[in-house]
């Protein structure tokens, strides 16, 4: 590559300075990313044995992948469950955070306090604390005893669920809805950052635009569809990707737990890499396809 002609004099000096600035990243990327990236890909295709002298990898073809999909009893189930949960939850998080951002963008007393509360989960429900909370066996134990002693299904959602399912309307769709409603806490604590990002977008929309629409006779609903949505559609994309990535990396993720368990406890590096790669490939495809679809609809104001 000959950049000598294009980058001369001041430009060349600036190019060098730029490279010096991003040098740490390049080094880090080469040392800690590129090698492990290919090594882990290679390991997923081989039998890995760890001996005191070092690592022995023997190429074995698709054995690990076959094992993940056909031999292992849990992996398929966990993967489909996890991906289904990811899609449903991400949708719920997007809707929830958009809705909350809309409310928090209005003026009312105590707004600062409410904002602070909604953002709190970003700080206190990160990392291990989320995992610890999920082990809360006492609460689930209590819940089941309460439900047993009162004859089951006394919660409001439970009652509605009973009515609707006995009425026999599209049960599968309702199940998903109820799952989301039951898991509203998970949704609420996972949407802190998304709320802030939506809020920042909403604040950039000038009031005069709404005023003009109002004078022209737009209803509130119309101005939301025609002004608010297009104006923050680019943030929709950012939030969607962030939500999916965030969901993949959560510490209470079943698939991730299985992978790190296989690696650290059972020392089965090849199999663990294969599972990690399958998971990663599927997530990349989901992100790629969905962001392509969303970016078609993104409207850029300037």
């Amino acid at each position: 590559m000959n950049y000598g002609k294009k980058y001369t004099g001041l430009l060349k000096r600036k190019a060098i300075a730029g490279y010096l600035f991003i040098l740490p990243f390049i080094l880090g990327f080469l040392i800690f990313m590129v090698r492990p990236f290919f090594q882990s890909l290679y390991m997923s295709f081989s039998n890995v044995e760890v001996s005191p002298q070092g690592i022995n990898s023997v190429f074995a073809g698709l054995v690990n992948y076959k094992r993940a999909f056909t031999v292992d009893t849990e992996f398929n189930r966990m993967l489909t469950e996890q991906l289904g949960k990811m899609v449903v939850n991400s949708f719920a998080i997007m809707v929830f955070s958009f809705f909350v951002a809309l409310i928090l963008n209005q003026k009312f007393k105590g707004r600062a306090l409410v904002r602070a509360v909604f953002f709190l989960p970003v700080i206190i429900s990160s990392g291990v604390i989320l995992g610890v909370e999920y082990d809360n066996a006492l609460l689930s134990g209590l819940q089941s005893t309460i439900e047993n002693s009162t004859g089951g299904g006394t919660s409001i959602t439970g009652a509605i669920e009973n009515i609707l399912t006995t009425a026999g309307i599209g049960t599968k769709a309702f199940e998903i809805v109820f799952e989301v409603v039951d898991g509203i806490y998970d949704v609420a604590i996972a949407s802190g950052i998304q709320i802030i990002i939506f809020l920042s977008g909403l604040q950039t929309i000038s009031d005069s635009m709404y005023e003009a629409a109002d004078i022209e006779g737009c209803t509130k609903w119309e101005s939301m569809c025609k002004i608010t949505f297009p104006m923050i559609s680019s943030l929709l994309l950012v939030n969607w990707i962030y939500t999916i990535v965030d969901f993949c990396m959560r510490s209470d993720n079943e698939v991730m737990e299985k992978i790190s368990d296989t690696m650290i406890v059972k020392l089965d590096y090849g199999f663990a890499s294969a599972m990690a790669w399958v998971y990663f490939a599927i997530v990349i495809v989901i992100i790629g396809v969905s962001s392509l679809i969303i970016s078609k609809g993104v409207y850029y104001y300037d």
Binding site: F29, S40, A116, I124, V128, I196, S200
Partner: protein, 335 residues
């Protein structure tokens, strides 16, 4: 005085005005009030939803064991006790671990943000060949779950070597596992927890600074470095504070990286994960009760431990709330 006078002049009662508007005013007023009431309920409900687990933990942490199984005791403990705190502190070795965590989180956060600022600035303000490619690498780094690579990174550090130099000198590869060194090395190379995100945010901020500012600095005789330190850095203080706070907090609670790359360094997040086993061990071997810890008691101790881990963060959040939220919303994250 004048105000009432003015009012009197144009004063029509609410009902008169309502009649003039053909009932529109009343309808608008009623729907407005109804909306406000619904909003209060909704917001209160959702805030309660978020705060409830914390409040619950606080009340549980002060209960003696018998209160946990007493159906009459719901929120206010009957036998108020601070034993849970003493036990949890003992299991986590709180004093020492706290200092350790503080030190590690602070140093890691400073290191990560320092490096990410350099890189973000480089991406935002300079033109150089292959810039798009390297930025694509940053995005790739955000998207790849670290777990995918952890397998081989884990082994990488067990037999650590830079191009075979170390093996040449000492005869065998270095085993870096068991110390915190791997993670510091990774932080220096922007490969720590969510570092891609910080680079992205900082770059976004620097891109919005007008070019004239930079040019003026150059004309006045500032070099590249001087411009960066004197002109750009002071401007970026809000976004850097914000990134620093995130880095600190996420490092504080992180389990994955510290488990994989920090060896045996005792950190609060890791101690918390082991607290249940410690309690069991303590009851069986120290109190000689072979049945072990009951479910409820284990949960009370875990809740107490969790509180002890997050209280410093909540205090930090109370003082630096603006730093967390405002700069994030003003940085204008867009794609």
């Amino acid at each position: 005085m004048t105000k009432t006078a003015v009012n009197k002049k144009s004063e029509k009662t609410f009902w008169e005005r309502n009649r003039d508007s053909g009932g529109y005013l009343l309808k608008k007023k009623v729907s407005d009030i109804a909306y406000r009431i619904i909003r209060v309920f909704l917001l209160f409900g959702m805030c309660f939803l978020i705060l409830q687990p914390i409040l619950n933990k606080i009340s549980i942490s002060f209960m003696a064991e018998e209160d946990l199984y007493n159906a009459m005791v719901i929120a206010v403990p009957e036998h108020f006790t601070t034993d849970n705190y003493q036990l949890a502190a003992q299991f986590m070795d709180y004093g020492k671990t706290f200092l350790n965590t503080l030190l590690v989180s602070l140093s890691i956060a400073v290191l990560q943000i320092a490096v990410c600022t350099l890189v973000g600035y480089g991406f935002a303000r300079f033109e150089f060949p292959l810039k798009k490619f390297w930025f694509a690498c940053v995005v790739l780094m955000i998207i790849i779950p670290p777990q995918t690579l952890s397998t081989s990174l884990y082994l990488h550090f067990q037999y650590f070597d830079i191009l075979g130099i170390i093996k040449l000198l000492t005869g065998s590869a270095l085993n870096l596992r068991g110390s915190a060194l791997p993670y510091y090395l990774m932080s220096m190379g922007c490969m720590g927890l969510k570092n891609g995100l910080y680079i992205f945010m900082i770059r976004q901020f620097f891109r919005n600074i007008p070019k004239e500012l930079e040019e003026a600095a150059y004309v006045d005789g500032c070099g590249t470095l001087k411009t960066f330190f004197r002109i750009m850095l002071p401007d970026a203080a809000p976004i850097l504070t914000s990134c620093f706070l995130f880095s600190f907090v996420w490092q504080w609670t992180d389990g994955f990286y510290s488990k994989t790359f920090m060896g045996n360094v005792s950190l609060l997040a890791r101690q918390l994960q082991m607290i249940a086993d410690r309690l069991d061990h303590y009851i069986v071997f120290t109190l000689h009760d072979a049945t072990g810890a009951s479910v409820g008691y284990t949960n009370a101790i875990v809740a107490t431990g969790t509180l002890m881990v997050i209280v410093p963060l909540i205090v930090l959040y109370l003082f630096a709330q603006k730093g967390f939220v405002e700069s994030l919303s003003s940085s204008g994250i867009k794609m």
